[in-house]
């Protein structure tokens, strides 16, 4: 029976569609034309300039701190939440589940505005702490559902067996839970870290003066029209993330192969 070639063609076109803007960006970052116009020769000036932009590096630092704290908070809350949701079936857990699910169903801008109103009403000054609170809030659900996916395969009788053999909770957590659930928790934490580092909209509404994260910095640079150094910054960022993704993909492939 002949299979239609249409899906193959559509896939090829989609991949081209995905890569053309990115490739343009990479090429333009080496273009000596200031406003990313027609090709005027190869240059590394934008990369050199970027190294001297203090604001960029402060934004990078802010982003990393925010992501680190948010990941920590969201991983603890999300893992505990997933454990409870998986273990108990009660009215309380039904409410818990609904509340865990709801943030995924709300556009970012609504979450950003409502948190801004909340902080303004409490009189909290906007800054890195408010950004971290906001990030933990939107990351918790992602961690929770990632960990819950792994928990479903977890055999709880292992805990009962350990308890019957006299193990206490610290030992159970250290010897049973962490080794078995570790990959799930790690996957959730990585997801939280990525989401936090990448977030623009919620951060934009909950940030104050001096708490510029990298996406907020990129946004204001695009607005100002200083595209050339931002192109260079983008290429560097892509290079870093692509390397991480390819390396981790390589390890995952290897592990699956064994």
């Amino acid at each position: 029976m002949k299979r239609s070639l249409a899906p193959a063609w559509i896939t090829i076109l989609v991949i081209i569609f995905f890569y053309i803007p990115t490739l343009t960006l990479v090429i333009q970052s080496f273009n000596s034309a200031k406003y990313g116009g027609a090709w005027q020769g190869f240059t590394l000036d934008w990369y050199r300039k970027l190294m001297h932009e203090r604001e960029v590096w402060r934004a990078v630092q802010n982003s990393l701190w925010v992501a680190a704290y948010s990941t920590l908070g969201a991983t603890v809350l999300g893992t505990l939440g997933a454990w409870m949701l998986n273990r108990y079936r009660s009215k309380l857990q039904h409410a818990h589940y609904t509340l865990m699910y709801a943030p995924l169903m709300v556009p970012e801008i609504l979450m950003g505005i409502s948190l801004l109103m909340f902080f303004v009403n409490l009189g909290l000054p906007l800054g890195l702490p408010t950004i971290i609170l906001a990030h933990i809030t939107f990351c918790v659900s992602y961690v929770c559902f990632t960990v819950m996916g792994r928990l479903q395969d977890f055999d709880e009788s292992l805990i009962h067996a350990a308890q019957d053999l006299g193990a206490r909770w610290p030992v159970i957590i250290w010897k049973i839970l962490l080794p078995l659930l570790g990959p799930g928790i790690l996957a959730g934490a990585l997801l939280a870290f990525t989401l936090s580092i990448d977030d623009f909209v919620i951060t934009f509404f909950t940030s104050g003066p001096g708490s510029t994260t990298l996406p907020v910095y990129i946004y204001s640079a695009i607005k100002k029209g200083s595209l050339a150094t931002i192109n260079a910054l983008s290429v560097l960022m892509m290079l870093i993330t692509f390397t991480i993704v390819l390396v981790s993909n390589h390890f995952i492939n290897r592990r699956d192969g064994v």
């Binding site: 559509i10 343009t24 479903q152």
Partner: protein, 291 residues
């Protein structure tokens, strides 16, 4: 598995409290707050006044809003339709590849989306810029008038929206397609169904859950589109998100921003709640089956 133990209420309550309490404090209360602030008066120089007022809610009748709301709905719906329309054949193609190839094609599709969301928008701005490669080529070929611009219209917003959301539509559809038993398609063909009919009546219903997830994953962020319209759309392509942001950032009219947000919230949550109550706890039911 937990049934053979006596029910212990108190540890459940205490260990549920952190995540439940956090979400109640930082998600539920702020959301409820929006509905409250919508009924407060705005101060002339920004901020929220004392007492109650219907002014902000009445401002929803602003004659410029229906246009913006209509645009938000049709752009979001078109983006979702395009993402599903492109996502299904791509997911189908990948799911039928040999396993070793599958992972690489999948990686190829996800890779550009590991870069920052704003960088992806910036990439389009660079591509469509008046001195950018696409415009220059079109001018050289005399297809485009040099005075017109490719940027700042609603079609760019739609394109970039599809560009940013498509992988998130492909992934759930692929996850469903991967579990689909493709011999069913061959069976349908053997029984005389045309290729199109087999696809339409066997494959699509078989990946229903994936399609539903993809639909939500694209439609919800699309409704809240803000950055894309702000950076490549311009004023002609404004969506609700931009109006809300303007009320907050430049007018500092928090009650009006809240009224608009509350309205958007209701538009999105009503169908969700209906869906939630009609197919309650389905994921849980499935879990206990698989155990």
């Amino acid at each position: 598995m937990t049934l053979n133990r006596p029910p212990k209420r108190s540890p459940e309550w205490w260990l549920t409290l952190p995540s439940l309490g956090w979400l109640a404090l930082f998600f539920l209360i702020p959301a409820a707050l929006i509905f409250l602030i919508a009924f407060r008066p705005a101060l002339p120089n920004g901020g929220i006044g004392a007492g109650w007022s219907l002014a902000a809610v009445k401002s929803l009748l602003d004659p410029s809003y229906p246009m913006v709301i209509w645009r938000t709905i049709w752009v979001s719906a078109s983006a979702t339709a395009l993402c599903l329309g492109l996502g299904v054949p791509v997911a189908y193609y990948i799911a039928r590849l040999p396993a070793a190839k599958r992972r690489w094609v999948l990686l190829l599709i996800i890779l550009p989306f590991w870069s920052n969301f704003l960088i992806r928008i910036l990439a389009w701005q660079t591509l469509l810029h008046s001195e950018g490669p696409l415009k220059q080529t079109l001018e050289l070929l005399h297809i485009m008038d040099p005075r017109t611009t490719l940027l700042y219209n609603v079609w760019v917003v739609l394109t970039v929206l599809v560009y940013t959301e498509l992988p998130f539509a492909i992934l759930p559809i692929y996850a469903a397609a991967e579990k689909f038993d493709f011999s069913l398609l061959d069976a349908a063909r053997d029984l005389g169904a045309s290729q199109f009919r087999a696809f339409w009546t066997v494959f699509l219903p078989g990946i229903k859950r994936g399609l539903l997830t993809a639909l939500l994953v694209v439609l919800i962020p699309a409704f809240g589109t803000y950055a894309i319209t702000d950076l490549v759309g311009g004023t002609q392509a404004e969506m609700i998100g931009n109006v809300i942001a303007r009320r907050v950032l430049s007018d500092k009219n928090y009650p009006q921003a809240s009224a608009l947000s509350a309205a958007l919230c209701l538009v999105i949550l009503t169908p969700m709640l209906v869906a939630l109550f009609t197919q309650r706890r389905k994921p849980k039911a499935q879990t206990s089956n698989s155990n």
